[in-house]
Symmetry: C3
């Protein structure tokens, strides 16, 4: 059983955070809210999304799982006026999702959840450094690095309490330093890892530029990036595997 | 003889309604105004445009016919500032149209009207149902249907006084219902026909979203869509042939 | 030695005027300001840019020459916020340019100036006619001509004190006349030359639409177009060779 009403903006924002990594996913329709966990086909990036029942105008569910095509669902949500509401109701018999918005009824065929890749276990890493920055700083770092390279190094200089971003191209280099006063929070620790810019660019598209992002880092370890959506009623965690340092 | 001054916006709007169907057309320069009738190469969609002399700042004509390339004429009108005026004068000897706007003089070579396809007769159908809606509702219906199918069904449920739009895709369906209170006017009658979405998308581009559109429908019959342009001094009627119902 | 701070907007505007013609150029870092002179690979268009030390927030240089990739430098300047400042400092040892903006450090590899094409001599032509117009008039003329042809004629009708622009296509013609009251200034003289529209379109992109442009013309002679950037602290001169008149 699933019957929920949510603002189109909230639905779009939540789905976007997953669709940057995968095309199809399983929605877990838990009593306390909606949850998605997915890993990209290359096993490099993972996403963990939860959207609490409180993020919805109304929400009823009893723990089912449905498989959806994300871009299809995003297109439908995109038909709503800004501020419009989307009503979703699962037809258990036909296994279709009835979606209505502004007088429009859309019947979405679901995907057999068993045909969608198994959810990953997101490892419980104990990363030594945490940096909390504004989303716009991630955005700037990614754009700058993209001018010179396909990779980006994120690190912390413990003694100086500095979070840094580096990208080395064939001829040019980019370097961005954020000192303690530029950061919302910093837990210094030994941290420097290299990441694929392609993945970070995709994740960056879902990071709200005017929100806080907590970035957990280690030495040649995955990074975890955590931020809130839906006015705090939704949470997104990305995990991104490191690239082997080339030098 | 043809010598007229018209606002660039009015000229563009009028030409757009024809250029969504054909590239070249004959302009009938009648004493009481300008008239165009055209059918697309596949004989599926027709347009009938009249722009009364009152839609012009000044207008003089004596019943001639000229052939024009519509996108060329639209490009020229597009050079004018918003609110600018376009002066058109026919040179009978050279068979060229002199167009001036904001100090710019453009000499447009005309096309031999005999080389342009004959105007269609727009059949005088007696369609049993008429729905008057806002242009934006046509727009929503077309966009929604386009998510799932190449075809769109328009119909009326007589007993409920409901205008409905349906599109059935391979897996998903879209359904939009407008009840009497959502409609500007409704003359209920037996009506349901299937149309090509490609044509309706083109026609929709010329329908003003904040204006009224009268849609005449029958059972597996063509639809006629009628709306005003140029503050009521211009009228556009589209006729669109139905597709054979597949079921 | 080169150490300068300049607003990102000024830097972008200045570089744009050169990058429409060439991809790489030599920057002359003179004591009194920055200077660039370049000719396009086909020897048809030349640019002469000077940006006085007064256009910078701070400026120190002693006459060196560096080779730069313009689009790279423009991308970097594009990372700055509007109104942001760009700090450039030459590392004499590594022959790299250190660029910092908003906490971002970019190390730009320079190009060996000897590998960049020699600066042209801009001939000291004594052109008989000068027209001073607003940039937006050049823009209109170029757009209109582009509808019908690949070439554009610029000329002056001495007896009437009229500056005219003409383009003749295979079927259509465009003609724009600016009389004395439409012009900022006019020194009438015998002038009519035909130019490649491709070049003029590129140059037009760098001409500020709300600024003055002085256009010097002769009979089948090159044209010189001169305008100011950076609130008068920068000057750009384009020279464009004529096409042979086809008629």
């Amino acid at each position: 059983m699933f019957n929920a009403i949510v603002s189109a903006d909230t639905l779009r924002t939540a789905l976007d955070s997953v669709s940057v990594l995968v095309e199809e996913c399983r929605l877990h329709l838990n009593e306390e809210g909606l949850a998605v966990r997915a890993v990209d086909p290359a096993n490099v990036g993972m996403v963990d999304l939860t959207l609490a029942a409180e993020a919805f105008e109304s929400y009823e569910a009893d723990g089912g799982v449905i498989g959806v095509n994300l871009s299809r669902l995003e297109d439908i949500a995109g038909m709503a006026d800004s501020g419009g509401l989307v009503h979703m109701e699962l037809d258990e018999e036909t296994r279709k999702l009835h979606i209505s918005l502004d007088g429009l009824e859309y019947t979405l065929a679901l995907i057999d959840p068993d045909s969608i890749r198994q959810e990953p276990d997101i490892p419980d890493l104990d990363l030594p450094a945490r940096v909390v920055v504004e989303g716009r700083d991630i955005n700037r770092a990614v754009k700058a690095a993209d001018m010179v390279s396909d990779h980006i190094a994120l690190g912390v200089r413990e003694e100086e309490n500095v979070f840094y971003v580096e990208a080395e191209g064939d001829t040019d280099d980019v370097h961005l330093e954020l000192e303690e006063e530029d950061l919302i929070d910093l837990q210094a620790g030994p941290a420097r890892s290299l990441f694929s810019l392609d993945y970070l660019k995709d994740m960056n598209r879902a990071i709200p530029s005017n929100g806080e992002v907590a970035v957990d880092l280690g030495e040649e370890f995955p990074t975890k990036m955590h931020f809130e959506v839906a006015e705090g009623e939704g949470e997104v965690t990305y995990m991104l595997a490191p690239r082997i340092q080339s030098s």
